[in-house]
């Protein structure tokens, strides 16, 4: 076993930074309490200004210029606000904790709730009467026929793929809600300033004009470079307005510390992001301002800042070397950024809480791993960010720790484990060796692959170089299984013929015939999902470009093409799958029960499913206890899990998207495994009707008895076939001491060495979680890992809570599953 020694970039003797606590960092303590006390409010500022700008835009203006002008119009009018004593200037919205309205996407979905949203039962959002009226009478009417969903529907005559999507139970075409899901590159803006980007775009525009070419392609490029300049002017205008307001507040402030903070923010915003960052504070604030600006143009969902310990390190190091910065001050600034990243949430209609309840905006921060040369990249800031995460325990940012078992130290590996134990949930581990290889197999150059970061939940991207639209499709794999079981129909959609006719399984003589039906149904359904994603993609190209976001990517600036038109160096579309483990276990059960053991006929199995196993208790017990389970070393289970992974990969890789990149499959589910589970009938693996599915790529709860075996089985899945990431959730009731923390680190390392991609943990017992469900007020800040992101347990819907409660818990000492409490067995999906 080889491990590097600690990196030369680590100067701490105590990497846990235990001497720094919330008591020694009172500002962070105060800001954190303020954040947790805030109730979210609907913010219409962005919707108001964008609508006004677009309403008055000339009809014949290109979409690039229309959107750039709208960005500038909004950003230059965006109210400069300072809600608390945070060291960083800039706010996502006009409220301390805001849910911005994006009418181009899902902003109209709360229309029916305008009078009730403030008091709704689940996750209420405050909305003033004036704001509700403005949405109802001024903003929404403009967008009724213009948002991306309706534009696409109208253009293509309400295609079948869209009507299938709108049934909710087959797949979600998430471009109706956003693309976002990407990692810009902040480095250039920090090093050279936004003014440099404007000059660069201006010179490229001038060169094209001087070339004399006037073909359509050239004119489009000219418009793109113009658009970049316009949008960037908006970014600078916002910072200047903040600077002026901070100066004004400083002059009026009687508290000397607060006045000094205003003065410093005024100075910082006078410099960045327009000009290069000169200090750590300027770099952190510039990064935050760009993050705010990006959300002017694209919805606040999984816009991920990337490898912050790498991006900010040079500024930290330089300040420390000059003696201008202390570790305490650096921690304070990092903490201020973490809290700022929590200043916004998603605008979600009440019914959508069933599918996505509790999710934050998932801006993923990635730390650690190796650098572009393949060397240990862990530095002081890595440990500062881990410590700040450990102290603040906030939902966002979603922290991901890259781990390279040959280059990173054991101390680093175990420090991550310690933070997980102390927060009970974060960060997630990402295996550098496998992830870098996966990206290389997708055509990413090695240097770029080594610089990967996480997008949103678990997807992999290269900051500022790849545009991955990693959440384009969320396909319900169980719906494919049910279509195959019912000759192209599903219990939830009744007698309607949805998929192709693949034959009645009662007439199948071999398991291969059923597998063939499954493949046919999948090919048809995923084909529809891809088809709709392509229609949406083309619609974006026509009406929703992203010149502001494109400015923070290498490719678009070189080629004069917006990200949405394929300007990025690497392009892909992600399709993730819901119900993987339940589907595989159901395939296993069919193969074993019907064709190997001949325990029942297919007709009897189908009758049992239709009856939700009532009257079929003996068969149900056999399916639950004896049928092969994914996550064990049963040969049938191994073969079926690998077959499904490979088949899906081959399907997606055959499809090239509207930007010229391939489709990539992934296995992460947010909370959809709970929502979609509620809409599915009983399954051959013994899961009862309307129960939750297993999350991500995790085995079905209580199916895999041995920790090391289940991890090995998952690690042995062909990693290159999981190119859009996986979410693997494991649970330990407790990790009581240093020895067990090291054991957790060793478990992770063994899993990584066997080829796993990702793993995350909840450190909670069944009983703790049951108590938290029964008495939510006693656990207001309990943080849990869902499927690639964290949520406050209290915010989740009941089905999702049950899924997290029933996830298999393993004893860290014995590696065996802990028995689920008898008194609560009815929570299990197969009871």
């Amino acid at each position: 076993m080889s491990h590097s020694n600690s990196s030369a970039k680590v100067s701490f003797t105590d990497i846990s930074l235990a001497e720094y606590t919330l008591d020694t960092l009172p500002l962070l303590k105060q800001l954190r309490l303020g954040l947790l006390a805030e109730k979210p409010e609907v913010c219409i500022e962005r919707a108001r200004h964008y609508t006004k700008s677009l309403e008055s835009a000339p009809e014949d203006q290109s979409s690039e210029l229309r959107y750039a002008n709208a960005a500038k119009y909004f950003l230059s009018r965006k109210t400069p606000l300072f809600f608390d004593d945070n060291r960083l200037a800039g706010t996502t919205g006009s409220k301390p904790f805001c849910a911005p309205v994006y009418p181009e996407w899902t902003g109209l979905t709360i229309w029916p709730e305008l009078d009730t949203i403030s008091n709704r039962e689940k996750n209420p959002l405050k909305l003033t009467r004036e704001a509700a009226d403005e949405l109802n009478f001024k903003i929404y009417p403009y967008w009724m026929d213009r948002n991306i969903l309706e534009y696409t529907r109208k253009k293509h005559g309400n295609p079948k793929s869209m009507r299938i999507f709108e049934r909710i139970v087959f797949f979600l075409a998430t471009k109706a809600g956003c693309i976002s899901h990407t990692i810009p590159c902040y480095t250039l803006a920090l090093e050279k300033g936004v003014e440099y980007i404007i000059e660069d775009a201006a010179s490229k525009e001038a060169a094209l004009i001087n070339s004399g070419d006037r073909d359509g392609e050239t004119l489009k490029k000219i418009d793109f470079y113009k658009a970049v300049q316009i949008a960037m002017e908006g970014v600078i205008a916002y910072a200047q307005n903040l600077s002026r307001e901070a100066s004004r507040l400083a002059d009026r402030e009687t508290d000397p510390d607060r006045a000094e903070n205003y003065r410093q923010m005024a100075e910082v915003c006078g410099q960045v992001p327009a000009k290069p960052a000169r200090t750590f504070r300027e770099a952190v604030n510039a990064l935050w301002l760009i993050q705010v600006a990006i959300h002017a143009e694209n919805i606040n969902m999984a816009m991920s800042p990337g490898r912050l310990d790498q991006i900010l390190y040079r500024y930290y190091r330089a300040d420390m070397d000059r003696g201008d910065l202390t570790v305490e001050a650096a921690m304070e600034l990092v903490g201020c950024l973490w809290l700022k990243l929590n200043d916004n949430t998603n605008l979600v209609p009440e019914t959508a809480e069933e599918l996505f309840g509790g999710a934050g905006t998932v801006p993923a921060v990635t730390v650690g791993g190796v650098d572009e040369e393949g060397e240990d990249a862990v530095n002081d800031l890595t440990y500062i960010m881990l410590r700040v995460t450990e102290l603040l325990k906030t939902r966002d940012p979603s922290l991901n720790a890259r781990f390279h078992y040959e280059k990173n130290s054991v101390e680093y590996r175990d420090r991550i484990a310690q933070v997980i134990v102390n927060t009970k949930a974060v960060p997630a581990y990402l295996n550098d060796v496998t992830n870098i290889q996966v990206l290389k197999e997708q055509g990413t150059e090695e240097k770029d692959a080594r610089d990967y970061a996480v997008i949103g939940c678990v997807e992999l991207g290269v900051p500022g170089r790849s545009y991955d639209a990693s959440s384009s499709i969320m396909l319900n794999l169980v719906s494919v299984l049910e279509l195959a079981l019912n000759n192209g129909k599903r219990p939830v959609t009744g007698d309607e013929q949805i998929g192709p006719v693949t034959g009645e399984p009662v007439n199948f003589e071999t398991y291969d015939q059923f597998w063939g039906a499954f493949k046919t149904q999948f090919t048809w359904l995923a084909g529809k999902a891809v088809e709709l994603n392509e229609l949406f993609g083309r619609a974006y190209q026509e009406i929703l470009p992203s010149p502001l976001l494109s400015s923070f990517f290498e490719g678009p600036m070189e080629t004069g093409r917006d990200l949405i038109s394929g300007g990025a160096r690497y392009n892909s579309s992600g399709a993730t799958h819901i119900g993987f483990a339940d589907t595989v276990d159901s395939l296993n059960a069919i193969q074993q029960a019907v064709f190997v053991d001949k325990k029942c006929t297919f007709a009897e199995l189908k009758a049992a499913l239709e009856a939700d196993f009532k009257g079929y208790e003996a068969l149900h017990a056999y399916l639950v206890k004896r049928a092969p389970k994914y996550g064990t070393d049963n040969d049938i289970a191994k073969e079926n899990s690998q077959k499904v992974i490979r088949f899906l990969y081959d399907f997606y890789q055959r499809h090239v998207n509207y930007r010229g990149g391939k489709y990539r499959p992934g296995y992460w589910t947010m909370t959809n495994h709970a929502g979609q589970g509620k809409l599915a009938g009983a399954l051959p693996n013994g899961r009862k009707a309307h129960q939750v599915f297993a999350s991500g790529i995790t085995p079905v709860s209580q199916a895999a008895e041995a920790l090391t075996t289940s991890l090995r089985m998952i690690a042995e899945l062909e990693s290159k076939c999981i190119a859009s990431g996986e979410a693997l959730n494991y649970k330990f009731p407790s990790v009581p001491d240093r020895e067990e923390v090291a054991a957790l680190g060793q478990v992770v390392e063994a899993y990584c060495r066997q080829g796993g991609l990702h793993i995350q943990f909840n450190i909670m017992s069944y009983e703790d979680l049951i108590r938290a469900k029964e008495a939510p007020d006693d656990y207001p800040e309990l943080l849990v890992r869902v499927s690639g992101y964290s949520a406050y347990f209290k915010d989740l819907n009941p089905a999702m809570k049950d899924e997290i409660i029933t996830r298999t818990a393993y004893d860290i000492k014995t590696g065996r599953a802990v028995p689920f409490p008898e008194a609560y067995k009815e929570m299990m999906s197969n009871q």
């Binding site: 109209l108 979905t109 229309w111 029916p112 709730e113 305008l114 009078d115 009730t116 709704r120 039962e121 109802n136 009478f137 929404y140 009417p141 967008w143 009724m144 026929d145 948002n147 969903l149 309706e150 529907r153 109208k154 309400n158 009507r163 709108e166 049934r167 909710i168 139970v169 009440e350 019914t351 069933e354 599918l355 939830v492 959609t493 009744g494 929502g675 509620k678 809409l679 309307h690």
Partner: protein
């Protein structure tokens, strides 16, 4: 009278639910200037129909007026097909419009521009709140 009708929507539902709702809407558009604002400048063509074919009602908003006809119309912005009056009530009225439940039971199927459904649902809810003195 209207107050009782709307309060009854929270409890028992009759097959006349949609008719009652649309009639109440029409009345309020005539008598309430505030409510009439909801359809100033708005054009929308709706078709509501029950799955058994027993109910077919179209509603057209144009020139600040609302017209209701007991027949199908063409060029609709949205078609709302529903199993029965209760299903439609559950679908339209918050709290809580039971969308997932509606889908699970195949109670309501919507075909067309969803934003028109959102606007109609808002107006219906607004009307209920006005009629019952909650706004």
């Amino acid at each position: 009278m209207l107050k009782e009708i709307f309060e009854s929507f929270d409890s028992e539902i009759t097959e006349e639910f949609l008719e009652l709702l649309l009639n109440a809407m029409g009345l309020f558009f005539v008598f309430s200037r505030e409510f009439r604002r909801q359809i100033e400048g708005f054009e929308g063509r709706y078709l509501f129909r029950s799955r058994d074919g027993g109910i077919t009602i179209s509603t057209v908003f144009k020139d600040g007026k609302m017209k209701v006809k007991e027949k199908e119309i063409s060029n609709t912005d949205i078609i709302i097909s529903f199993k029965n009056a209760k299903a439609l009530r559950d679908f339209i009225f918050s709290p809580k419009p039971d969308i997932l439940g509606s889908i699970l039971r195949q109670d309501v199927v919507v075909d067309g521009n969803l934003n028109y459904m959102y606007k109609f649902a808002y107006m219906a809810k607004r009307l209920q709140l006005m009629a019952t003195g909650q706004v």
